[in-house]
Symmetry: C2
Subunit: 417 residues, 2 copies
């Protein structure tokens, strides 16, 4: 294909004006309009940058803009899909019903419901610190949180805690090591609200309140798997949608295979598709057991292609109903406890989905999706598809952190060569 | 270490006298006694060889011995842990409560309860056909069965069926292709019992009764992952134990990572450990969705080492309570719905375990095991272990075919370098 035409290259800087925090919506005004074929570099920020403001926010105009929060001014006020007046829990505007800082949306010209948006992930780079004290170094955070799988199952039930660990990327660029950790202690945010747990995103952590453990994970190097946890088109439903549960619109897939060189296909539900991205992860294991990954501000470069309804130029997109990831060697399909939860769980879907998650349901979903893919996209009959699934397709636990638990199916391309 | 001493090499041929079919038991007489350090080549047969007797049994003295079944003589009468008089369902001796042809047991001298048996998998080779018409070629079977995950979920609920597909290994040796398939039709076994479904192992399939589909999986090559589905020490419980549900004694793990170059560690429960092996798989996907893998008679070469209780020479064996697989790059821990199901599910455990399986439970088990491994074997504290699990450990669906459903955790060794 050669290099893209210069006029088709775009750049979206991250800032208070180019992000939406904690929710998706078809009503959001686009930050950019592009034609199919365009290459777009998009900066993103991790919502966990405030775990160590010194290293991950200070001196960075984009991050300082998004995280700006003083008693007088909170630049990005709404964080989450909840009520703006925080009338449910009083946590803050949006109530933290959704946590991810998402850059976008990008409007893709000509995209209509029924089309498929192809998102090629051309590059992913961690965002270096702009603080002169740490200049050029890259940092990340893992938070072992109350919504993690471990939280109900501590060895000592009486000692429930949330733990944040700050990591730095090794000079080699292919691993990270822990710098220090701390237990969460209650924080008073700049608006005066006290947070006994990590119940609202972007709370600036007062490091003078912490006891830091500097002897953490000695000798351990975490291999990197840079990817974006959240890549989404706008859901078809009106209103604001919590950014946490993934679904057929994509969203918070939290699949580490969505790295450089991979391509994500998403069924379009609204005019212009409205693509948003965020939740950068330096690494994650299948399962995302403690509630978060190795969270890191990152910049992605993407190329968008459009497959019009009824005439996909790639046969394997026939019948696509949810997110399909393609890597150089694999197709990866995403099953969920409730693939279309916004429709299927009724009026209270966004609350219900957290109560009803089940790996058993997610596997059933992944099984059916995979059977359908092998039949529609590869022309197998049902018996062939079932047999092939048993002897060559791997089912894994994507995440049990995001309300709508996921099981993915990995189909090797080698089958079809 | 250099090559093993010649006197420490042994060979167990497969035949009616060296197998037990469908069950494990601490009461079985060993077919071989060896000292720790011994290298043993063990032949095994797939219980699915009778799906195509021409290709997988005929002309092979070992297979003909094990599968010999005429109205006058059934050389291996008991198949399964059920009643010998088949008084429950009338399927046949042992009732098919357990299906695997297991070669062994091998008694390891000096092994005692509380020790850990190390099983190094030095080599795995498929067993070539001995029939002159197919001489030297290797065949395998997948059966999409009534106990598979798909059986309750066909696209047309009214068209329930079992489907057998016969495969051949490609000349390259690294892939297999389908030769033909057939729907199961009722078979009358040599004792005169009719089998409407695949409800008893080793039923010789009368190919004149079949409609064969020769146009199956056109263009598809299945990459090989040769491994043994079943590697076990004897459970501590008395009596016969169904070979299907895996547990802390190992058994029917059905993890394809147990291939050449891998090592399996099993906690010893009975004197001599009593190791048995079978259920050869040319390939399997995580999940084993249709009830079986790519089933193939295979010969394995193993080296046994013993780690005495309280003084394991490998630190990562501290606190081992169930099967641990080590590959060149990974440690793999096995969670189950009920890790110690024979004890935990009471008198009817062997029936109950099929009714109660749950991926949610299996993940909980895998989570706890992994936390324990990272703490005991790697010296991490609980918080470090939890964090590491979230950012670097992959949880996958081992199988939903074996009653006691499994979720495994894959821990990269690169973490500790």
């Amino acid at each position: 294909h050669g290099p893209p035409r210069p006029e088709a290259r775009h750049h979206v800087a991250v800032g208070a004006d180019t992000v939406h925090w904690g929710y998706l919506s078809r009503s959001l005004p686009p930050v950019l309009h592009v034609a199919p074929g365009a290459e777009v570099m998009i900066e993103t920020l991790t919502q966990h940058a405030s775990d160590d403001c010194e290293r991950m926010i200070k001196g960075d105009p984009g991050a300082e803009s998004v995280f700006h929060w003083t008693p007088d001014l909170k630049k990005v006020n709404r964080r989450g899909a909840g009520p703006l007046d925080a009338s449910i829990f009083g946590r803050g505007a949006g109530e933290g019903f959704g946590v991810h800082i998402l850059t976008g949306p990008v409007h893709i010209e000509g995209a209509e419901p029924g089309d498929v948006l192809e998102v090629q992930i051309l590059d992913i780079k961690p965002r270096p610190s702009a603080n002169p004290d740490h200049f050029g170094r890259c940092f990340a955070s893992n938070a072992s949180t109350w919504w993690g799988y471990q939280y109900s199952d501590f060895l000592d039930k009486a000692d429930r805690r949330e733990v944040v660990t700050i990591f730095e990327v090794e000079p080699s660029g292919d691993a990270a090591r822990a710098l220090y950790s701390y237990r969460w202690v209650p924080q008073i945010d700049p608006s005066g609200i006290r947070h006994d747990t990590i119940d609202y995103p972007g709370i600036p952590v007062d490091h003078s309140s912490l006891v830091k453990n500097l002897d953490v994970m000695r000798g351990i190097k975490v291999p990197l798997r840079p990817h974006f946890g959240c890549m989404s088109v706008a859901p078809r439903e009106t209103g604001l949608v919590d950014s946490i549960p993934p679904g057929n619109f994509g969203g918070n897939l939290d699949n580490w295979r969505a790295g450089k060189g991979a391509t994500l296909y998403l069924p379009v539900s609204v005019p212009g598709a409205l693509f948003s991205v965020g939740d950068g992860h330096l690494a994650q294991g299948d399962g995302e057991i403690d509630g978060t990954a190795l969270e890191c501000s990152m910049t992605g470069t993407f190329r968008f292609e459009l497959h019009k309804k009824g005439s996909p130029t790639k046969g394997f997109l026939r019948g696509l109903t949810g997110p399909l990831l393609e890597t150089p060697d694999e197709f990866v399909l995403h099953g969920f406890s409730y693939p279309d939860y916004l429709r299927d769980l009724g009026r209270d879907a966004q609350a219900e989905v957290y109560q009803r998650s089940s790996l058993n349901r997610a596997l059933r979903s992944a099984f059916r999706l995979t059977r359908r893919f092998l039949m529609d996209a590869r022309g197998l009959d049902e018996d062939e598809a079932t047999t092939l699934m048993s002897i060559a397709v791997d089912f894994g636990v994507t995440q049990v952190a995001d309300g709508n638990w996921g099981v993915h199916a990995t189909i090797p391309k080698a089958l079809f060569r």
